[in-house]
């Protein structure tokens, strides 16, 4: 009897019939909390605010479990900063098309985790659900896999095509039609790597012999013309970084020694301009030079940002540095010198009128935010589950 009574009561509670105001509630108590619905999944807005960043965690210690975190840097608590995540397997690279509301990721799987048959795919994630809405099977064993690169994937031709950089170690670019999600073709880029924008329907790659290979595409995706530029650097003695900041139709490629090469990418063939020195003459004795992984980015006000370190020497160019220097690209002039809390490995700058700077601190793998105007430290974002967030990107 007692048991039957208790069971009926619990059953009632579980199935949604609340017993209120009688045996359970005292006179002065509020009514009980209502039963809540289950199965509700959050979604994100179709357009990401400028304060949102895409943080690429390569998972260097667990590469099958790489992740991209969508982080709102304007929020003050972890719970409101983390908007969501999606998995990207085997240090994949990503790029975003805000027009299509899609994020693309080149990734790789084996049927048994780290072994078994291999499959390479381009996954199409929906920005609002962070769930895959499609995929393109890539040619097997070709897609570039290494430390994260911003120019391993490139959207071209007013958003119609996506280029995927290959490195097997033979180099080429797989061209995908984003409307049909089918492969249009594969363009060999012998001796040259990655896929940088040039013109509206073409791309350039960076070559071991110190020049660009510029590829013009026909309307059907076939190669219209491939042009090699003049040699402008020596990959042994005067190497450049493969990481540029693109402002308007100019890509700024820093060199390891501290020059920057402005490259006109507005036409179908890359045009390399006169390099200038990033380091003011008075400071050159301290051997300042760029260093890092995702070491450079730009804002919408014509400035680019680059991680710098003193005492540069052989082997130090990937290690990051203690400062971020900000340049007015048109004036060829440093306009800000931001001293970091300790050290920076990669950085990203948000779009829009009031850009903020995100810097990856490799000592504890936290993200540090800085005011781009004053150079002041704003806050640290951490504890969101990250392991090795080696590349960060402002959302588009």
């Amino acid at each position: 009897m007692m048991i039957a009574y208790k069971s009926r009561r619990l059953l009632a509670a579980v199935t949604g019939i609340l017993l209120t105001g009688t045996a359970l509630a005292q006179q002065d108590r509020p009514p009980p909390l209502p039963i809540e619905p289950t199965g509700i999944i959050e979604t994100l807005p179709a357009a990401y605010p400028p304060s949102w960043f895409l943080v690429q965690d390569a998972g260097f210690f667990h590469m099958s479990d790489g992740k991209v975190y969508v982080i709102d840097t304007a929020a003050d608590t972890l719970a409101s900063q983390v908007k969501g995540t999606f998995n990207v397997s085997m240090i994949g690279n990503i790029t975003q098309s805000p027009e299509r509301g899609e994020i693309y990721a080149a990734e790789t799987f084996h049927t048994r985790g780290s072994r078994g048959d291999r499959i390479d795919v381009l996954t199409v994630f929906d920005q609002t659900t962070l769930a895959p809405k499609g995929e393109v099977i890539l040619p097997k064993g070709k897609r570039f896999m290494g430390m994260p690169e911003r120019y391993a994937l490139l959207i071209m031709d007013n958003g119609r095509w996506l280029g995927v950089a290959n490195f097997s170690p033979a180099t080429s670019v797989t061209l995908i039609d984003l409307d049909t999600r089918k492969i249009v073709g594969e363009i060999p880029t012998p001796g040259c790597v990655l896929v940088y924008p040039t013109g509206t329907r073409g791309f350039s790659s960076l070559c071991a012999d110190g020049r660009f290979l510029s590829t013009e595409l026909a309307a059907d995706g076939s190669v219209a013309k491939q042009t090699r530029t003049d040699v402008f650097f020596n990959s042994d003695t005067t190497p450049i970084f493969e990481h540029p900041a693109v402002i308007g139709s100019t890509a700024f490629f820093p060199s390891i020694a501290g020059l920057v090469y402005p490259v006109d990418i507005g036409g179908p063939v890359a045009k390399v301009g006169e390099p200038w020195n990033l380091v003011p003459e008075a400071e050159r004795a301290q051997k300042w030079a760029p260093a890092g992984i995702g070491l450079i980015d730009k804002d919408d006000q014509g400035r680019f940002y680059i991680i710098m370190h003193p005492d540069a020497k052989d082997g130090s160019y990937q290690g990051g540095g203690p400062e971020v220097w900000v340049y007015d690209a048109a004036a060829k002039k440093r306009v800000q010198r931001i001293k970091l809390q300790s050290w920076g490995l990669s950085l990203a700058v948000s779009r829009g009128e009031n850009p903020v700077l995100m810097v990856v601190n490799p000592a504890d793998m936290s993200l540090e935010m800085y005011n781009t105007g004053s150079g002041e430290f704003i806050k640290t974002i951490s504890g969101f589950g990250q392991e090795t967030p080696l590349m960060v990107n402002g959302s588009k």
Partner: protein, 173 residues
């Protein structure tokens, strides 16, 4: 390893217990496993209001000591793009689950909490929280949090855990 430190720091200092009470839950264990599949009427989200006549609760759903988490073991969905009772974007909520009975300090009542896991993405990694109050080994599926409850979902990848109010619990021991 900071997250782990935090987790096990909690364990090692023997988390102060809530005064949750459990009644005859075992008797309806078979029913509660799967409570998430019972169609429940959508209700307005309870605000933590002091207005008389309004349901109340207090606390930070991103904190391990939030009252609903008394029997939880996992990553808090509140820190992963979801909330205490919703899943992050792109995940799937497990229809089967374990339950706990937690005392809401704001109204002094014990509630039945369903800890539905969100599945289909790998470990969220944020806000790991282990409380275990009333938890039992896995021969008691209705009260065990050591199982991967991503069962009945298309993916078994565990991402995070919610804590959903599914009823008022019987109050006597």
């Amino acid at each position: 390893m900071k997250l782990l430190d935090k987790l096990f720091e909690q364990q090692t200092r023997h988390l102060a217990q809530r005064s949750s009470r459990r009644g005859m839950l075992k008797a309806i264990g078979g029913l509660l496993v799967g409570a998430g599949t019972i169609p429940l009427l959508p209700v307005a989200r309870a605000a933590a209001a002091d207005a008389p006549g309004r349901p109340t609760e207090k606390g930070d759903p991103a904190s391990c000591d939030y009252w609903r988490y008394c029997a939880i073991d996992g990553f808090l969905c509140s820190c992963c793009g979801g909330s205490e009772n919703t899943c992050p974007p792109g995940t799937e909520m497990s229809p089967v689950t374990w339950i706990g009975t937690c005392r809401n300090p704001a109204d002094g009542r014990n509630y039945v909490i369903s800890y539905n896991d969100c599945c289909g993405k790998s470990s969220c990694g944020a806000c790991l929280c282990q409380r275990d109050e009333g938890d039992r080994p896995l021969y008691r599926p209705d009260k065990t949090n050591d199982i991967n409850w991503c069962l009945g979902t298309t993916s078994l990848a565990y991402h995070c855990s919610t804590a959903i109010v599914v009823g008022v619990a019987f109050e006597a021991e």
